[in-house]
Every structure is written in structure tokens, then in C-alpha cells.
């Protein structure tokens, strides 16, 4: 009996673990190690952050789902990987620390035959002074990265709305809290959901809403932009976003690296090297992501973290990390199998794998500060990767170590994204976007690097309905209810 250990129970890890358990059956063991007791459908955190959903609507307990699937579940965080075992055994293992109530802090070693690292990111609030620290979110801004953060964000939002109802103007600043952030899409959704809710509350005229991000143009979204169909035109997401911002009277600052947050004020540096300050009463700034800080130790007890992980803490996989300058980037730089090059029984998927380079054009200020979005690896691509990696591991277990690995390169994969711009059965809007491939392939598609036949988007009420339906559909799938395997990633 082989044992597969999956670190992380987010979109990618949960997908990998559940499919692996389904395919392997009871002949082999699947173990999930995740510090969270609940699964969170993160895209809907936006609606929690504006009070349109509760934490309970977007989360559910993992334990009963894993029990049903025959998966062994440890509520714990992984501390280190020992891919060669230790001096007494050649069996590789992971060291975990329990986060379960009553067992918190207990250390345990779990041996594995195959390991999938799908830990997701560490929300690196400490990267920007004032945004937070090693313990997480700071006191000056809010976040929608977790369901608890989003609940807190909504509480602060309601306070701001109450102030506006009493005649006190409020300034909202939403965006990214560092020059190297990803997930601009989440901030984009949040700013327009806030705008929508303020309108509903009848206080829109009391609010000044501003966007701040590290994109070099509005609508970059960390993927170098895409086509959008808006107002009867096929245009770049830049034009679409600028029009949407103008239409909803939302001002913007882009190419910005937020370098300090204080009470009611952020300091930032722009791509042209100038420095600025922006005041706020309410601010949601997405933090940069980093690896969760896993250590790797060899048989002799030496630290080999730099061999297994990239400097940003994400795990090295079959990517080309020596692509060099922007003009040399190729689609083939991106990983296909997500297998670690040093230890073949190690895989990483979702945010946990180290991308070879950004997707957007790399940029920096004249002061040398890098300011550009880092590549998004969330949502649909994350699920597709998780499933492909699970497939590979299952084949390695059942067919032997020479079984060909399954591929899911972001340079060969399309993705669909539905970005909410306001929730409401008849008043809601969302931008539905498809992009193919996620990573531009300049050799196959000279020019934009994308197939324009399959890279498109549209905004409207129908998009909102789709997003709401997807919310229920993906929670259904994650709960492993009837027909879950038929629902695509």
C-alpha cells in the first residue's frame, strides 16, 4: 500500500486529494495535512466582505468530507520535508505541527511515498511596513483573503456606511499593498462590489473611491491584459477597465508599490520614480504572497531548502528558471508536470509551485524597485493542475515509476474567470472572461501571444448569475456530493 500525502486543502490540494482518493480507492492511502478545519470557496469571500454572504455560506467542515472520501485528515501545518528520510530510515517524511484544538503544537512525522505540496501562499503582510506583521493582517487596513478577514472587512465597511449616513464623507482605497502582489482580480471585484453596495445604501455620493495597484496598466490582472467586449466594442481590458472606472466614478493610481501603511494613509512609489501619499478611511489592500516557509532537510540533517525551494519559498518544479530577460521568455519555460527536479516523488501545484517568471511585462522604477504583478496561479488553473498531478501520482502508484506523467502547463491551458462587479439578482453585474492560453505563447501566437478566438470577455447581469451558480456548483463539488467528478475544474 502506497501513501500519498497532500499538503494543503485549498482548491488545488483538495482537488488533488479527492481525485486521488477516488482513483486509488482503498488499496492505497491518501493523507491530507492542512491547518484549516474548514474549506473556503475563496472567490465568494468578496461577497462576505460586503455583507452579502456570511462566513458559513462560503466555508464547510473538511473532516466529514474527508471521512466520506476515505482520506486521512490531519489538521496541522507542515514544517519541513525530509525527502531522503533520516539517519535511521530511508523513508521520506514530512514534519507537521497540529493546529487542532486540544492538540495544538504537537509535532508528528508522517512518512510518504509521494508528496503533493499544495500549501497555497503565506499572506506576506509583513512585506509592507504597517500592512501587517509576521502574525498577519495589521490594524490599519482590511483584507478579503480569508473568510475571517472578509467578515472583519464587512464589519469595517458597515461602520463606514453608518458614518456616511450620518453625513461624514469617507475615502475608500482598494488594491494591492505591495509592488509584487498578485490577485488584482480580487481587489478589482471588491472595489466594484463596495461601489455597488454604497449605491444600494444610498451613500455613494458621500464616498470617494480610489484604486491603487502595481499593474502598469489598468486591466493587466497579472496576465498582461486580455480582450474585453464592452459597450459594443472589442477592446483591451485596459480600455474596458478605464471605461468601467470612469463610468462608476472610481479614480485610480497604477504602477504603484505601496511601501508603508499608517493609520489612514499609505505611502507609495510609482514606476516613474515619484513618491506619493494617499489618505483613506477604509482600505483593503491585498498582501504579496510568499511560500509558507517549509524547510527541506536531507538525510544527513543538512538544510537543502535552497535546492527544493526557490528563494520566494515556492517549490521548484519542472520549469525553466534560467529563462533570463523578458525578451527570452517562452511558453516552454512553464512547468508541465509539476514534478520536483531533484526528488521525483515530490510535486507542487496551485500557488505552491515556483513560477519561472511573471506573465506581465517586468518593470521597475528608476530607483530599482520592482513593480509588476506576479503570476496568478489560483482558481481554474489551480484546480486543473491539482487534478493532473493527482493523475500522475496515481499512475506512478498503480502502473509503476515509468508511467508517463500528466501535463497541465499554464502555457497550454485556458482559463475562465467571472469577476463580480456587484451582487444582486437583477442588479448584479460580473465580467466573464476567458483567456487562452493563460501564459502567452509568442511563438505559436505571434503578437499578443494568445489565441484571440478564445480570449474574450463580457460584462453584464448574466455574468453575475453564472458566478452565483458557480459558487453553489463548486461548493457542491468540493463537498463530494452526487456527480462531483463530472463538474469541471
Amino acid at each position: 500500500m502506497a501513501r500519498l500525502v497532500v499538503l494543503g486543502g485549498g482548491v488545488s490540494g483538495h482537488t488533488a486529494a479527492t481525485f486521488a482518493a477516488e482513483w486509488l480507492g482503498s488499496a492505497h492511502e491518501v493523507v491530507v495535512v492542512t491547518p484549516n478545519a474548514k474549506w473556503n470557496w475563496i472567490p465568494s469571500n468578496i461577497w462576505v466582505g460586503v455583507g452579502q454572504m456570511t462566513k458559513e455560506d462560503v466555508t464547510f467542515d473538511l473532516a466529514p468530507v474527508y471521512a466520506k472520501a476515505g482520506i486521512k485528515y490531519h489538521q496541522a501545518k507542515a514544517l519541513g520535508i525530509h525527502p531522503e528520510g533520516n539517519e535511521t530510515s530511508d523513508k521520506p517524511y514530512v514534519v507537521i505541527e497540529s493546529t487542532e484544538a486540544g492538540k495544538a503544537g504537537q509535532i508528528e512525522n508522517i512518512e510518504y511515498d509521494y508528496l503533493i505540496n499544495a500549501t497555497g501562499p503565506k499572506l506576506n503582510f509583513a512585506a509592507t511596513p504597517g500592512l501587517g506583521d509576521a502574525n498577519g493582517l495589521g490594524e490599519f487596513t482590511v483584507s478579503v483573503c480569508t473568510a475571517d478577514h472578509a467578515t472583519h472587512a464587512n464589519e469595517e465597511l458597515q461602520k463606514a456606511i453608518e458614518k456616511m449616513k450620518k453625513g461624514e464623507r469617507q475615502k475608500f482605497l482598494i488594491g494591492t499593498g505591495h509592488g509584487m502582489c498578485t490577485c488584482q482580480g480580487a481587489a478589482f471585484e471588491y472595489i466594484f462590489n463596495i461601489e455597488h453596495e454604497l449605491k444600494k445604501a444610498g451613500v455613494r455620493d458621500m464616498a470617494e473611491i480610489k484604486w491603487i495597484s502595481n499593474e502598469s496598466f489598468l486591466g493587466d490582472f497579472g496576465v498582461g491584459g486580455l480582450h474585453m467586449k464592452a459597450m459594443g466594442f472589442a477592446v483591451s481590458s485596459k480600455i474596458f477597465a478605464e471605461s468601467l472606472f470612469a463610468e462608476r466614478d472610481v479614480d485610480w493610481i497604477i504602477g504603484a508599490h505601496v511601501n508603508k501603511v499608517e493609520k489612514g494613509k499609505v505611502h507609495y512609489e510609482l514606476l516613474d520614480g515619484s513618491m506619493g501619499e494617499e489618505e483613506f478611511d477604509f482600505s483593503m489592500l491585498i498582501p504579496p504572497f510568499a511560500g509558507v516557509g517549509l524547510k527541506a532537510i536531507n538525510k544527513a540533517g543538512e538544510d537543502i531548502t535552497a535546492t527544493v525551494f526557490a528563494p520566494n519559498g515556492f517549490m521548484k518544479v519542472d520549469a525553466n528558471y534560467a529563462a533570463g530577460a523578458y525578451e527570452n521568455w517562452k511558453a516552454s519555460d512553464w512547468p508541465k508536470t509539476y514534478q520536483n527536479p531533484t526528488y521525483k516523488n515530490l510535486f507542487a501545484c496551485g500557488i505552491a509551485f515556483a513560477p519561472p517568471h511573471p506573465i506581465s511585462k517586468p518593470m521597475s522604477s528608476p530607483n530599482g524597485t520592482p513593480i509588476n504583478p506576479t503570476p496568478p496561479r489560483t482558481g481554474m488553473p489551480s484546480g486543473i493542475m491539482g487534478k493532473a498531478v493527482a493523475h500522475s501520482v496515481c499512475d506512478l502508484i498503480t502502473k509503476g515509476p515509468d508511467a508517463p506523467l500528466h501535463e497541465a502547463s499554464m502555457a497550454h491551458m485556458g482559463a475562465a474567470c467571472v469577476a463580480s462587479a456587484g451582487k444582486g439578482l437583477f442588479t448584479g453585474t460580473a465580467a466573464a472572461m476567458t483567456i487562452y492560453p493563460v501564459v502567452p505563447d509568442f511563438e505559436k501566437y505571434p503578437g499578443t501571444g494568445r489565441d484571440t478566438d478564445y480570449t474574450f470577455g463580457e460584462i453584464g447581469l448574466a455574468g453575475h448569475w453564472i458566478k452565483h451558480i458557480l459558487h453553489h456548483l463548486f461548493i457542491w463539488k468540493a463537498k463530494l456530493k452526487a456527480g462531483w467528478t463530472l463538474i469541471p475544474e
Binding site: G225, Y326, T448
Partner: protein, 268 residues
């Protein structure tokens, strides 16, 4: 070499906004073509997109006759808004009222790929903004207010649909199904409202009519669903995103039909 400037009604390509990665002879040749074309047509500036190139390059002719070459330009910050009357080479002899930023700061690269920055205000700021829009696939039409756009479209012989990508129109025959469905829904609502003002003897007949209307509306929407998918496949640019749109539109219409029919069942 002087190049032909793409003008209405020739639709611009959907390939645009491609950042220059290799600063080579191809790019330098493109820049020279832009300069020649500016001189030949007595223009202030040209975006590469206007002569059919997808590269993110803009050339501006300065007052002293020299040229400013903007490679991979980005609009970083803006200040104040102004309303201007603009003309553009894509729509010869046409003008429109457009809101722009009065002062802007941009970054760009020069021929040596060195990052530079530039601040501009007034007419120069407006000119740069218009050229940047071109390089991201848009004429100034996308920056017009709804009223100004409607006014402008009336001046266009072929309307603005032609300005869309070569393969994705904005109006479809399937819209007739939606229109028919909406008319049926309005009729159902009117019938429901009328039922409050007629005698019980007529109610039975009204319910039958309402049921017929709901069935026709249902069939219309099923027809819409299948025809819309067929039509979307004719325009490959549209298939992926419009599938979601078609499903959403059908669902919304079906919910409306079901709600009105159920309410009618209990009230008529």
C-alpha cells in the same frame, strides 16, 4: 516607407497592445515607417496600430520637427479632467466631445530599451492618451459618453459595429428571440394585472391564455438557447464568453416565466 493609415470602415485588428520585447531592426523600421507616414499625411502623431502593427509603439512629431519615440508606453498617473473636441485619422473629417485627463505622467522605453518618463498636459496630454488607446485596440469611440456615442454613430455610414473585431458582431439574429420572449412576458404581466379587474367567469379563459403564453415563451427561450449556440459558433471569437452569456440569459428568462406562471396559477 509611407504606410496606409487604417480608416473607417476598415475594421481594426483584434491583435494589439503587444509589448516590444526585442529592440531590433524590425522595430526601428516600424518607427521609420511611422515617421514617414506622419510626414506624408501632415499628422501630429501615429500609433503603430493605425498602420496595422500590433506593437505598442507611438511616434509623436514635435514642434521643431523632431520625433519622440515611445516604445511600450504606459499611462501611470493622471490629474484633473477636461472635455475636448477631438479628431482622429481613423474617422477622417469627424470630431467628437471626449473627456480626458488634463495632466498625465507616462513611462516608456527608448530605442535602447531604457525606461524613461514623461509628463504632459493640455493638448499634448490628450494626444498621447488618444494614441495609447489606439495601441490597446480602441478608437476614441470607446471613450465617448453614451449620448456622444449615439450622436457620433449617426454620422457613420455603417454604424459602429464595423469597428468591432473582424469576426465578432454586437448584434445577433438571436436577439429577435429575446425580443419575442420579452414581448410575451410583458403580455403575461398585463394579463395577470387585467385578471384583477374581470369577473370570475372570465378567469378560466384567461388562465388558459396565460398558460399558452407561458408555453410559447418557454419554447421561444428553448429556441433561443439552441439557435444562439449555433449562431455563436459562426463567430469563433465569441463562442467562449457568449456560451456563459447565453446560458445566463436563458436562465433569467426561464425564471421570469416560471414566476409569472406560478403567480398567475394562484391569482387568476
Amino acid at each position: 516607407m509611407v504606410q496606409e493609415i487604417i480608416k473607417y470602415p476598415t475594421p481594426p485588428s483584434v491583435e494589439y497592445g503587444t509589448d516590444v520585447r526585442n529592440f531590433n531592426e524590425d522595430i526601428f523600421s516600424l518607427i521609420e515607417d511611422l515617421k514617414d507616414t506622419i510626414n506624408a499625411n501632415n499628422l501630429e502623431a501615429l500609433a503603430a496600430f493605425q498602420i496595422g502593427s500590433y506593437f505598442n509603439v507611438v511616434v509623436i512629431k514635435e514642434e521643431d520637427g523632431t520625433f519622440l519615440e515611445l516604445i511600450n508606453p504606459r499611462l501611470i498617473s493622471t490629474k484633473d479632467k477636461i472635455t475636448t473636441i477631438e479628431t482622429t485619422a481613423y474617422f477622417p473629417n469627424r470630431s467628437a466631445e471626449i473627456q480626458r485627463h488634463d495632466a498625465i505622467s507616462i513611462i516608456y522605453q527608448d530605442r535602447d530599451a531604457t525606461q524613461c518618463s514623461l509628463k504632459a498636459s493640455g493638448a499634448r496630454s490628450v494626444l498621447i492618451q488618444r494614441k495609447l488607446d489606439y495601441n490597446f485596440g480602441a478608437t476614441f469611440l470607446s471613450k465617448l459618453s453614451k449620448q456622444e456615442k449615439a450622436k457620433f454613430e449617426k454620422q457613420l455610414e455603417f454604424g459602429s459595429d464595423i469597428v468591432i473585431s473582424e469576426s465578432c458582431p454586437t448584434t445577433f439574429k438571436r436577439d429577435y428571440f429575446v425580443k419575442a420572449s420579452n414581448i410575451l412576458l410583458i403580455a403575461m404581466v398585463l394579463l395577470l394585472g387585467a385578471s384583477f379587474f374581470v369577473s370570475d367567469a372570465i378567469h378560466s379563459g384567461m388562465w388558459n391564455i396565460q398558460l399558452t403564453l407561458s408555453l410559447v415563451a418557454l419554447v421561444t427561450n428553448i429556441g433561443y438557447f439552441f439557435y444562439a449556440h449555433y449562431e455563436a459558433k459562426l463567430y469563433t471569437s465569441c463562442v467562449s464568453c457568449q456560451s456563459g452569456n447565453i446560458i445566463g440569459t436563458t436562465l433569467i428568462a426561464l425564471v421570469k416565466i416560471v414566476v409569472i406562471t406560478i403567480v398567475s396559477y394562484f391569482l387568476i
